[in-house]
Symmetry: C2
Subunit: 133 residues, 2 copies
């Protein structure tokens, strides 16, 4: 790995932080490699957004419930001992992220997992936390 002490940073024009560019030691090969392969900001934003939706205990519990069966809002609220409104708000986030879908049956609305990715993402997360115990 090149270790270049670089007081005259050749990427200075692209860099908002002049102080940093004038003082920092760069590994330019590593930087160039990473820069070349960086996905679009939009993709990385969407990716973070999906995980953000997984990143809440209430929503994780809802997803868990839906692994067993489709389920109506009322049953989820009962099982999680939470306000119906709170559940509905969280279901909207899950719906927008296409992690769950809904079907109406009379007065009730039944939710189920939208696709198998949900279970796969869930399981990979579980594998991680279980390994580190």
């Amino acid at each position: 790995m090149d270790n270049i002490n670089n007081p005259h940073c050749d990427r200075q024009s692209e860099c908002g932080n002049i102080e940093l560019c004038e003082s920092c030691v760069y590994h330019t090969d590593v930087i160039e490699h990473a820069k070349g392969n960086m996905p679009d900001d939009e993709v990385l934003y969407d990716l973070a957004e999906i995980f953000r939706v997984f990143g809440d205990t209430t929503r994780i519990k809802i997803l868990w419930l839906l692994f067993s069966d489709e389920m109506c809002v009322c049953d989820m609220a009962e099982l999680l001992n939470m306000n119906q409104s709170a559940i509905s708000h969280q279901l909207r986030l899950l719906r927008n992220a296409r992690l769950v879908r809904s079907r109406r049956d009379g007065k009730q609305v039944f939710y189920s997992l939208d696709d198998e990715h949900v279970r796969e993402i869930f399981d990979k997360g579980l594998a991680h936390i279980q390994e580190r115990r």
Copy 2:
């Protein structure tokens, strides 16, 4: 699926919300099945926590950078055009979640992915957002 209109809820003693219990239509078989298989709250909390760490654009970018190579804090700050302090704070969260590890080499600290789960979780998330396009 049983659909029991149940004004005298038999789980009323366990239920904090009396109004809900007196009015709601339950699917008791679904509820009992889900209740029996529910993991510990602690596991579900830890799981949400892991995804919460993935659920930020800056941290997602950092993880992406580490797929290519190990990398020092300075290079990450340069590449992401961000404050060194901001990167360090995020690295601490990633370290605490055991998603990255660090090694010191002189004045610099190099970060790398802690295990393969990180890449797998990342890829599953990517598969989800790419499929829905």
